[in-house]
């Protein structure tokens, strides 16, 4: 009897958890990293939803080329979420936190465009993009470095052409992103 109840409970739990589906908006659920924040020497936590992005956009100077470029990019965005922690000593993030992010990014809709792992530098950087037709609807970056752990999630219509034009500004590298046909 107890075994049957245990099995039923296990099935109910599995059904409740459900499969991991990607949020079509390109937004990922970020893990609770409060423990990291307490240990980090530097923390960057940015949570900007559409309303805050709109507010920020109004204060970007159109005459400043750098800010004008940012303004163009921000126009199509729905959210910008960054969690970045720097440590004084080498640090390994919790596997559960990393897995939680990765499991969402392996769901249908997301594609990994860069997966760079350096054993020498002990660095692992993964860049994911969510495409809807020809339009990028989400960008996610997971970077694990010896003394740094970063998760970036940019939600919304990311204009790759505009991102391409921003290359060289704000330290954005030339990724060779071609204009979508």
């Amino acid at each position: 009897m107890n075994t049957r109840i245990s099995k039923l409970l296990a099935i109910a739990t599995l059904l409740a958890a459900g499969p991991v589906w990607a949020d079509p908006s390109g937004k990922i659920r970020l893990p609770d990293l409060a423990a990291l924040e307490a240990r980090a020497s530097e923390t960057v936590e940015v949570t900007l939803d559409a309303a805050l992005l709109g507010m920020a956009s109004r204060f970007l100077d159109a005459k400043n080329p750098e800010e004008a470029g940012v303004r163009e990019i921000v126009n199509g965005l729905q959210g910008v979420y960054v969690r970045s922690y720097t440590f004084d000593e080498p640090f390994t993030p919790q596997k559960a936190d990393v897995d939680m992010v990765r499991s969402q990014l392996t769901a249908p809709g997301w594609s990994r465009i860069v997966g760079a792992r350096s054993r020498k530098d002990n660095t692992n950087v993964e860049v994911y993009i969510m495409l809807s037709g020809q339009q990028a609807m989400g960008l996610a970056v997971l970077a694990i470095e010896p003394k740094e752990f970063t998760i970036v999630n940019i939600v919304g219509a990311i204009d790759l052409d505009r991102l391409h034009r921003l290359e060289g500004q704000l330290g954005v590298p030339k990724l060779g992103i071609a204009k979508q046909p």
């Binding site: 507010m55 960054v82 970077a143 970036v152």
Partner: protein, 102 residues
């Protein structure tokens, strides 16, 4: 005796004309009182309206200052977020570049 009393009463209770001067003074006094009350009411209303405008103006200014502070904070956060993002994309680029070189 009764007649005398009656006459006395009639004399005392007869209607006397107060005179034109008295009537004029009373009539002048009434509108003046009324005017003073109206002026006082207007002064109070204007004062109240001015106070309300001042309170509303200060409230608007505080709200605008708060909105400006929130906007500037959001802008700084956005630029910081893009700097972090570009830094990590740069890291990915360098890693890919290194891999291609080897």
């Amino acid at each position: 005796m009764t007649e005398e009393l009656e006459k006395e009463l009639r004399r005392s209770l007869r209607v006397d004309d107060p005179g034109e001067l008295f009537t004029r003074r009373v009539m002048q006094r009434l509108p003046h009182e009324h005017r003073v009350a109206s002026r006082r009411w207007l002064t109070w209303s204007a004062g109240l309206a001015a106070s309300l405008l001042l309170v509303f103006g200060i409230r608007q200014q505080v709200l605008e200052q708060r909105e400006q502070a929130a906007g500037l904070r959001a802008k700084q956060e956005l630029l910081e977020a893009l700097r972090v993002t570009s830094g990590k994309l740069d890291l990915a680029y360098q890693a890919v570049d290194k891999e291609n070189e080897t």
